[in-house]
C-alpha cells in the first residue's frame, strides 16, 4: 500500500500570514517573522505539518482566534496559504492552477460551514443540488441525488422549503446533505454545530456519527468544544496561536496534557470525571466512556 493510499491528507510546513508583507516575507528567517509580527502581521497558521489517514475523523480544537478556520480553508485554498505544501489523495493542491482547483473543489472535498452558507433564494432541494449544478449535471439526475441525500439527513419532505423557514439545526442538515451529495472522500467541517443549542447539537453529533458509520469519509472537524472533540474524534490536534500544541488520541490528550494551554482545556473534563467516580474508579475510565460513541463507531467501521 502506497503512502498516499494510507494518508488522504498530507500537510507540510503550512503558513498563513495576514499582512501586506505576506508575499515578500522570508518565513525561514525567525527574525524576519518576528519583525513582521511587531509590524502588525498576524500569523494565523505557523509552520504546521500533519497527516490524516483515510477514514479518520481528525478534530482540530482550539480557542477562538487560534487559526482553525484559516487552516481548514487553506486545505481547499479558499484562503491562499503563504507557504507550505498540501496534498490530498496524492495530488498537490498547492500547485494546482485555477482550473484544476475548481475541479478539485467540485470532486474531492466538500465543506460544511458554521453559518451554513445556504443560498437564501433557492429552496432546500436546489441548495443540496447546487454543487452538482456547478458540475453541469442534468436537472433530473441532480435532483434525484439531492433527494436521496436529504432523506439520509432526515429531511425528506422539506425539499420545497426555503432556508429561512428552517430552524438552525435543520439548516445545518441541509448543509451536510449538500456536502454528502458531492460524494467526496474528504469532508471539511468548520464548527458546524457551534451555532446550535446544546440538545440539537448533541443530536447532530449523533447523526454525524451514524452517517460516518455508513460513509466512512475522511473528516476534518473544527471545534472549540472539548466534549465534541472527544465524542467525534479519532485523533485530535489542540491548536493555539497558529500552531498544533498537541496532537494525539483524544483520551491521551485529556490524560496527559503536555502544557498549560492544553491543561486549561481539559481540566473541566478531568474534574467532572473525578466527581463522577468519587475516587473509586479512575477518571480515565469515565473519559473513555465519554468517547464511547467514537469507539463504537471504530469497532463497527473497521
Amino acid at each position: 500500500m502506497g503512502r498516499q493510499d494510507f494518508n488522504l491528507v498530507e500537510v507540510e510546513r503550512l503558513w498563513k500570514v495576514y499582512h501586506k508583507t505576506e508575499k515578500t516575507l522570508n518565513l525561514s528567517d525567525p527574525e524576519a517573522v518576528e519583525k513582521a509580527e511587531a509590524a502588525g502581521a498576524v500569523i494565523a497558521v505557523r509552520d504546521v505539518s500533519f497527516q490524516i489517514k483515510r477514514g479518520e475523523v481528525f478534530v482540530i480544537m482550539g480557542l477562538s482566534g487560534s487559526g482553525k478556520s484559516t487552516l481548514i480553508r487553506c486545505l481547499t485554498r479558499l484562503i491562499e496559504p503563504s507557504a507550505g505544501v498540501i496534498r490530498v489523495a496524492g495530488k498537490e493542491v498547492t500547485s494546482m492552477d485555477a482550473e484544476e482547483l475548481t475541479a478539485f473543489r467540485r470532486g474531492e472535498a466538500a465543506m460544511v460551514f458554521q453559518h451554513y452558507g445556504l443560498l437564501p433564494h433557492r429552496n432546500v432541494l436546489e441548495n443540496v443540488a447546487f454543487g452538482l449544478k456547478l458540475r453541469g449535471l442534468a436537472h433530473e439526475l441532480r435532483e434525484a441525488r439531492a433527494q436521496e441525500a436529504l432523506r439520509q439527513v432526515g429531511l425528506a419532505g422539506w425539499e420545497k422549503k426555503y432556508p429561512h423557514q428552517l430552524s438552525g439545526g435543520m439548516q445545518q442538515r441541509v448543509g451536510i446533505a449538500r456536502a454528502l451529495v458531492q460524494d467526496t472522500d474528504l469532508l471539511l467541517m468548520d464548527e458546524p454545530f457551534s451555532g446550535l443549542d446544546p440538545l440539537i447539537r448533541r443530536e447532530m453529533q449523533d447523526e454525524l456519527i451514524r452517517l460516518q458509520k455508513e460513509w466512512q469519509k475522511t473528516i476534518v472537524f473544527v471545534t472549540h468544544d472539548l466534549g465534541e472533540a472527544l465524542r467525534l474524534g479519532d485523533r485530535m490536534a489542540v491548536m493555539g496561536a497558529g500552531v498544533f500544541v498537541q496532537v494525539g488520541r483524544p483520551q491521551d490528550i485529556v490524560m496527559h496534557p503536555t502544557d498549560e494551554y492544553v491543561q486549561r482545556f481539559v481540566q473541566d473534563e478531568q474534574r467532572i470525571a473525578q466527581l463522577l467516580d468519587k475516587g473509586r474508579v479512575s477518571w480515565v475510565r469515565s473519559i473513555e466512556a465519554h468517547a464511547s460513541a467514537r469507539t463504537g463507531k471504530v469497532a463497527a467501521g473497521r
Binding site: R105, R106, M111, F113, H115, L118, L119, P120, G131, L134
Partner: protein, 283 residues
C-alpha cells in the same frame, strides 16, 4: 465693471469642434438616431395600440396582486383615468414611450457597468467620482451636450434622459452585488463555482432587490428628465407644461402637472411592486 478688452470666448472653438465631430462621426450619429427613433416609434405604437380601458384594468390588476388592498388597488387605475379625462392620454403615452426607451438604454448600459464596478475595485474608484459629479449636476446641464450632438427632437431628449437617469441603477447594482453575504459566496466557491458561476448563480440573484430598487429610481429620474427635455423638443407632457407657462395659463398648467404626477405615481407603484415581489421568496 470687468474690462471688456480682456474678454475671451471659447464658444466659437467649441462650436467648431462639435461641428467637426458631428461631421466626422456622421454615420455613427445617424445610425444611433435611427435606432433610437425606431425603438421610440415601435414602443409608442404599442402603447397607443392598447385601448385605454385595458390599461386601466391592467394597472388595477397588477396593483391588486401587489397590495391585496382594495383602495391601493383602485387608486392607480382611477388616477390614470383622470389623465384621459383631461385629454392628455395620447400625449402621456408619448411621454411614457420616451421614458421606456430611455430606461431600456439606461439599464443596458448601467447594469453591466454596475457589475464591472462590483468586480473591479479599480473600475469602482474610477467611475464613482463621475457618478458623484453626474448626480450633483443640475439636470438642465445635460440638455447641452445632447443638443450639441443631436440637435433638437426626441433623440437628444432620450440621450439627456439616459445620462441623467443612469447613476442610480449603476450605484445600486454595484452596491447590491458588493453586499452579498461573504459566507454564502464562500460556500459557493468551496463547492467549485467559477467566478462566472458565482456571479450568475449567487451574486446577481442575491443583489436583485437592490438592482430593482435602482431600476425604480432610474425610472423615476427618467420621467423627471423627459419632462425637462421638452425644452429641446422631446415633446410629451413637458411640452404642455412649457406652453402653459409661456401663456401664463395656470389652469392648463395645473392639469398638465397633475397628469405628470399621476404618471409618476403609477410608474413608481408598478416598479416598486416588482421589488417587493422579488423580496418575498428569499426572505
Amino acid at each position: 465693471m470687468f474690462p471688456s478688452d480682456i474678454e475671451f470666448h471659447v464658444a466659437p472653438y467649441i462650436s467648431d469642434f462639435v461641428k467637426w465631430i458631428t461631421v466626422a462621426w456622421e454615420p455613427f450619429f445617424t445610425a444611433f438616431s435611427n435606432m433610437v427613433l425606431g425603438m421610440l416609434l415601435q414602443i409608442e405604437h404599442l402603447l397607443v395600440a392598447i385601448p385605454w380601458w385595458l390599461w386601466i384594468i391592467a394597472v388595477t390588476v397588477i396593483a391588486w396582486r401587489q397590495t391585496h388592498e382594495v383602495v391601493k388597488a383602485i387608486m392607480p387605475g382611477l388616477l390614470l383615468f383622470t389623465v384621459g379625462i383631461f385629454g392628455f392620454w395620447g400625449i402621456a403615452m408619448e411621454t411614457l414611450g420616451i421614458v421606456i426607451v430611455s430606461v431600456i438604454i439606461s439599464l443596458l448600459l448601467g447594469i453591466p457597468l454596475g457589475i464591472a464596478m462590483a468586480v473591479s475595485d479599480r473600475c469602482n474608484t474610477m467611475v464613482t467620482p463621475i457618478l458623484d459629479a453626474m448626480q450633483t449636476m443640475p439636470s438642465f446641464v445635460y440638455l447641452i451636450p445632447a443638443l450639441m450632438l443631436f440637435g433638437l427632437g426626441k433623440v437628444p431628449g432620450v440621450v439627456a434622459t439616459v445620462i441623467y437617469a443612469l447613476p442610480p441603477v449603476v450605484r445600486l447594482t454595484n452596491l447590491g452585488i458588493r453586499q452579498v453575504s461573504s459566507s454564502v459566496q464562500e460556500a459557493a466557491l468551496a463547492f467549485g463555482a467559477t467566478s462566472w458561476q458565482l456571479m450568475k448563480e449567487v451574486r446577481i440573484p442575491l443583489a436583485m432587490p437592490s438592482i430593482l430598487a435602482g431600476i425604480n429610481q432610474t425610472t423615476m429620474m427618467a420621467l423627471a428628465m423627459v419632462v425637462i427635455a421638452s425644452m429641446i423638443g422631446a415633446g410629451g407632457m413637458g411640452e404642455v407644461v412649457l406652453i402653459c407657462t409661456n401663456r401664463i395659463d395656470v389652469g392648463g398648467g395645473f392639469e398638465a402637472g397633475w397628469a405628470i404626477v399621476v404618471l409618476a405615481i403609477v410608474i413608481d407603484r408598478l416598479t416598486q411592486g416588482l421589488v417587493r415581489r422579488w423580496d418575498t421568496p428569499g426572505g
